[in-house]
Subunit: 307 residues, 2 copies
Amino acid sequence: MSGDVLVVGSVAYDDVETPSGAHKDLLGGSATYFSLSAARFTSPRLVGVVGRDFNPNDRQLLADQGVDLSGLVMDDSGDTFRWGGRYHADMNQRDTLYTHLNVFETFQPQLPSAYRDARFVFLGNIAPELQQDVLRQAKAPVFTALDTMNFWITGRRDALLAALRKVDGLIINDEEAALLTDERTILNAARGLQKLGPRTVIIKRGEHGAFLFNDDDVFYVPAYPLETVVDPTGAGDTFAGGFMGYIARTGELSPANMRRAVVAGSVMASFYVKNFNPDNLTRTTLDDVRARYEAFVRMTTCPALTL
Amino acid sequence: MSGDVLVVGSVAYDDVETPSGAHKDLLGGSATYFSLSAARFTSPRLVGVVGRDFNPNDRQLLADQGVDLSGLVMDDSGDTFRWGGRYHADMNQRDTLYTHLNVFETFQPQLPSAYRDARFVFLGNIAPELQQDVLRQAKAPVFTALDTMNFWITGRRDALLAALRKVDGLIINDEEAALLTDERTILNAARGLQKLGPRTVIIKRGEHGAFLFNDDDVFYVPAYPLETVVDPTGAGDTFAGGFMGYIARTGELSPANMRRAVVAGSVMASFYVKNFNPDNLTRTTLDDVRARYEAFVRMTTCPALTL
């Protein structure tokens, strides 16, 4: 019963500058990071589009990791989605240098028939209308979640609200949560988001960790402290891939298991941000995940009070 | 063996503006917040100075809470230290409107003889030379800690480094930690701070919680999510008072107990920031502390992995 997590999102080439250096043509995109992270736990099915410039080696890399690419369309009419960004010395701040949608601009996601029974569905950060299209094509999802961004919150609010009414989970960062709800505290923002539809709301805070609001259960997990953070691009999608991948593998939606899934997402993000390419993800084994998970448990255990 | 935590710091009147309103002549100052928080756990001994304008009712308020005021000097030559500040809509940002040191400017802390056997000593945010003076007067401290700020880090670095070599603990925020060590990640900053002297380093991150680095033990506790934060002035000193008060009451320096003390500090800060005056502190009982501590445990418990 495990496995089969479906993701729709971007597959891209990124040009990234950080204080650690500049790198071009990095394999990126939300669906890529999500899939490589989820692949530690299950067999992700990817829905996306690439252009005529897509490197066959990158297709092979994804396939070798167990990512099902039958939903990855090759559009020969143009190039692959491309994003350029520059991080500040404070890695929480970045500037987008350019966004070339290319073949992504006219992308209409179609689920191959073999994907339609997917039990776990993640709608990456794309137009909310397309997120709804994908949901309509999924026949019997058990748990669905979506990601979004400021661009859709301000520009396509009604479509986003319609999509939110149909999903079980929302994974969002704190600025987006405040923008969507007009609430300043994370507790009020989370309650406001739950009223919009999803029972499970995860609010990410970058290097400050993440909150899980799952019905009435409130859980907090820090980000793992690292000596160096080389490239945080895609850390949020890596987190989402670990979260959904863990749920898909275990097939259980209990409050305790949702907590475990959030830690699994944080574990994957902690491996990911130490390099400029997905190597840290593809090299990560389940034993690595178990060891880092134990480190999270040690770091957060409050001993019982003696008072 | 419990009790006797000594604090040196400011006793002040604050004028504070926040999005919730403006209030004048609030009883404030680092030693005040620290003492009222530590008084939940033990009997604090306060070392400080006030001026001719100090309201006898405020002295009575502190005394009623069990704060020993034999080290609080009344200086008739001037007025009490006064600070004015305005918080932004984002309560993590504030502007100082004015700082009138008044009688605090020439303050030379003298420990009454009955204070000199204090086992637990907290050096609030004052000039590092004065912090060293107080340390010299303490005969047999078991655990000492200090707080500081950007002003001393940049302006009195050598004196601060000398003070740091003599204390067991440092309680500091993340910006100050970066400024003092020139390290960008919290892990490297903490290790850099430990090399300066203190084995126990607590790095506060405001609404994002706090890290404890205690020898090799790393522990993270979030801030308690609240629906509203009315006035965060003094939250850091309230945290420090809970931390030191808990250690003094239990008299134990084990790694587990240091973790409990950090949670106790977070518990006290969570009660404190909901009001414009210290009422939330003076009303807090040990049963309130126990209940909120349990809420922290629930919020942070990572269930064991099933993988």
